[in-house]
Symmetry: C2
Subunit: 564 residues, 2 copies
């Protein structure tokens, strides 16, 4: 694909994003760098474009247009001081809550900070006077980059019109030559995404989607109440529901056959096209399960995506969402339940059967009857008392739990730090969580090492915290990742990172009871004991053991489903 | 008042703000600069304080506490790198939407950037990883500064718990000595503000307030529909309603006797204590009318303040609001109308009478029958056709309209740029507004001069824009302000700023028809003509004339109401 074709496809996708979110008017100030955007906007019959020479006037003019009906107006200018002239009107728009979408064009990264003419730093140019800023990539034309640019344009526009309304800023770097290719059409990967935005509180508006073959995908930490509501909705619709341990779907006090808790096993082994839904209903960010993400990413373009997000952040990593529903989970479920019926029992049964097969295979896994990292994680969740809490660290802990989790008939609450997945404050966070209820923490030795000071809090506050320490002397997660193919000398020093610490000494330092169970029975016995203060249960693991177990399991399941 | 007393009162007010908005837990890391905050928090029985030595652990511990019930937790540390150690947990809280209120203590301004120990720049320390940041003043103990600090603490906490939840940052500079005065009580000016936050969608929760003697105060631009709804609510409650011309209360298609459109005259002349309401119901920021603001500011502490703001920005310049209602105007009015009744007809009549007296006096003002700046503004509003639009510039234009505005039986829409009150883009904004409907712009010669390039847009787009240019050759607004008492040599060069331009030449340059009416009849005739393109009507004013007229009017009205 030529430079011009790539640039044109990218900008056409950008414009699709604007129109999808409600842009009908644009004010363009002529300039060189903005040429392709200006030309393609001007030729778009859906957009009323006006030309204003002086950028200060242009921005105030756009402000006036936006004031009348409070619909967003797009501003486009070239690079350099042109963009700075927008500033007075942007300040006014921020203070008086008028939606403006400011698109500044820019020189590409290689021309910045090298003394090239008209190249100034346009990142965050308007500081706190805009509600949002996004720096776009240099144009690329792979499907996911076209979706990306369309999504960014939509997302920023939606931000501009969400209460309180206001200005947003998008900066787009463009390379020469700047003339677009007028023969290009809007790329098909993007076209299907032009859907009306639905922002009414009436379930009728989305009930047509709920009458199809669908799937619910849940991410982020959910309260037990939300988890229960989501399970009820899934059952009422007969839709499979997927969500990792943090969603609490496995332990919200309800066992549901449509909860696909072994999604990682099922998708890692592969599913046929008949498992593809017509509609995906999403709540929050994606689950931690990577195979789910990859499968969702490759669903056909005809798939409809509904995204429920009270906070209107639209964190859609897949950038596929077409219908945006700004509601609380509870409000959405309540409204939906009034019309929900099972649309296709065959669809429901197919998923229930696959989940049941996976559960059988996991339960029959011999290694889960021995003591190892995997069985320790499995046991820590299974043996939670009613109303108890589980905190799972990142890296291996959350993944092992996601893979082997069982439904629990009683209520328990799972927590993690999956906002940015750090391993720097796991113990301290778990101590905070344990201030409310008895808590089990599953953590690895590296996360434990990072936050040993958190143990001082555990001791001084005497919180009821049981730390299950998976000690494989280093970064076990990397044996799951691509780094494991490295030479041993590189791998061990950079990734395996053994600390060679005797954690029993740490326990002594903080006067915390310390246990090393010799078999699974002993671990289970310890887990069943109530503890009023902190304690550490060390499970000695072997570096690559969980990987081998998992790969064997996936291969076996692949064989089972292939034989059907 | 001693330093210690002042500092203590200030910090007690800060803590009141936190508790009013829902803070029940605090995590404190010991340090010197944070001493008074730590001690006063620790002694507050409403707050559960925990001590955590290492700030990185402390922040993750607070994150864990906040995760369990998603209620905000307060973090307090000393100045310097202590604050930087909070950063990892703040990043996690932002991404996983957990409410944290981070209070960093700081050295006072005079110790910054001079090489003092442990003094680093703590402003905006967490960049975009927090939802909000506020830099507090050095402690002061005047009533409005105590309200200020209480309001800031509440506002930031409310921001942390609004969807999407997340961390906020407050930086407080403190001077030595740092030991508080434990004998101090919470200042009374602040105490009355501790009110439960009401955030339910049930009118019953606020209907007790609506049964009292109240007043509605409206600010910011309102749609005609909102203005109409607000007038209906005021009539149903029998409450006076105050709002400047931008609120569109005067021209929403309804004439209402409870609309106090001459508020500036009434409050400038003075009102007795019997005019004080028990409840003030506010929508948006304050009206432009300064005398209203000053009167509101001095209402008794017992006054209840309700604040309706869908965008939850709580822009309460008076910092008096006690009840925060995060609803759309339309939803709030609809819910309120179901229970609204007139509580006190005497209260209603008293206000109606005062407004009628003011209207009579304004109508009988002889100067409004002659051509001058004041009568031109009055006429431009009165002679708007149905569905026409009026754009008022800042400085004199908006104030004169606010003072002399009459009810209009037909619908018209008033606009302005009152977000930050600039005079840099008035003409261009009005051109944008005129893209929708015929528009009259009232502007002064200085605003006109700033944005002459906007005329090029008006001409090239041939918008139906009538510009009423109040030309007093300089900054007429300053003759209303305190600068007028300056020596003439200072005043003329710095504030009067005559441009000595012949605006007829400007009209010629842009080929815009130009008129200079010689009397009011001629102006009215021009205003009644429909124009399909732009035109300029210049009204030559005299610098101090509007001031004299206004001061005479206020004095006369004072005499009328004094005689009652």
């Amino acid at each position: 694909m030529t430079h011009q074709e790539t640039m044109t496809d990218y900008i056409l996708s950008l414009i699709e994003g604007f129109t999808a979110a409600g842009i009908k008017k644009a004010v363009i100030s002529p300039g060189s760098r903005s040429t392709p955007v200006a030309l393609l906007l001007h030729r778009d019959p859906r957009i009323d474009t006006q030309i204003a020479i002086d950028e200060r006037s242009a921005a105030f003019f756009a402000l006036g247009q936006a004031k009348v009906d409070l619909e967003p107006v797009l501003l486009v200018c070239t690079s350099g001081t042109a963009a700075a002239n927008y500033y007075p009107a942007i300040c006014e728009a921020k203070a008086s809550q008028v939606p403006l979408v400011v698109l500044t064009t820019d020189r590409p990264p290689e021309l910045r900070d090298v003394g090239a003419p008209q190249a100034m730093n346009q990142q965050d140019l308007y500081g706190k006077q805009v509600k949002g800023f996004t720096e776009l990539s240099v144009p690329e034309s792979t499907p996911n980059m076209l979706r990306y640019v369309q999504f960014q344009a939509s997302q920023q526009t939606r931000l501009a019109i969400a209460a309180p309304k206001g200005p947003v800023h998008i900066n787009i770097p463009l390379r020469e030559p700047l003339l677009p290719d007028f023969s290009r059409q809007v790329p098909s990967v993007v076209q299907h995404m032009i859907e009306p935005k639905i922002d009414v509180t009436d379930a009728k508006e989305w009930s047509t989607y709920l009458a199809k073959k669908g799937m619910i995908v849940v991410g982020e930490e959910r309260t037990l109440q939300e988890a229960l509501q989501l399970l009820r909705l899934a059952e009422a619709l007969g839709w499979p529901i997927i969500g990792d341990p943090l969603t609490n779907l496995a332990n919200a006090g309800k066992t549901s056959s449509v909860y696909i808790r072994h999604a990682d096993l099922i998708f890692s082994a592969g599913v046929s096209a008949e498992f593809q839904p017509e509609v995906v209903l999403r709540f929050g960010r994606l689950p931690v399960t990577k195979s789910v993400m990859q499968w969702l990413m490759n669903l056909p373009l005809s798939t409809e995506w509904l995204f429920v997000d009270e906070g209107q952040q639209w964190h859609d990593q897949l950038q596929c969402a077409t219908v945006f529903l700004p509601y609380r989970v509870s409000d959405f479920v309540q409204a939906s339940l009034s019309t929900a019926t099972v649309s296709d029992t065959k669809w429901t049964t197919m998923w229930e059967t696959r989940q049941a097969q996976a559960a059988t295979m996991v339960e029959e896994t011999a290694e889960l009857q021995e003591l190892n990292e995997t069985s320790a994680v499995y046991a820590a969740h299974q043996r939670l008392a009613n109303s108890a809490q589980l905190f799972v660290s990142n890296s291996n802990a959350i993944r092992l739990l996601d893979r082997y989790i069982q439904n629990k008939p009683n209520e328990a609450k799972v927590f993690g730090n999956r906002g940015v997945n750090g391993i720097d404050g796991i113990t301290s966070t778990a101590v905070g969580v344990a201030m409310e209820n008895p808590t089990t923490l599953i953590t690895g030795d590296l996360a434990f090492f990072h936050d040993m000071n958190g143990l001082q809090l555990a001791t001084s506050l005497q919180v009821p915290l049981t730390i299950v320490l998976l000690n494989n002397n280093g970064g076990g997660i990397f044996s799951f990742l691509s780094q494991r193919t490295l030479e041993k000398t590189d791998f061990d020093s950079l990734f395996a990172t053994p600390t060679d610490l005797e954690f029993e000494q740490v326990a002594k330092l903080y006067q915390i009871p310390y246990h090393v169970p010799s078999d699974l029975d002993e671990l289970n016995e310890l887990l069943d004991q109530q503890s009023s203060g902190p304690r550490i249960i060390e499970v000695k693991g072997q570096f690559a053991e969980p990987v081998t177990l998992w790969e064997t399991l996936v291969a076996s399941f692949k064989a089972v489903v292939a034989n059907e």
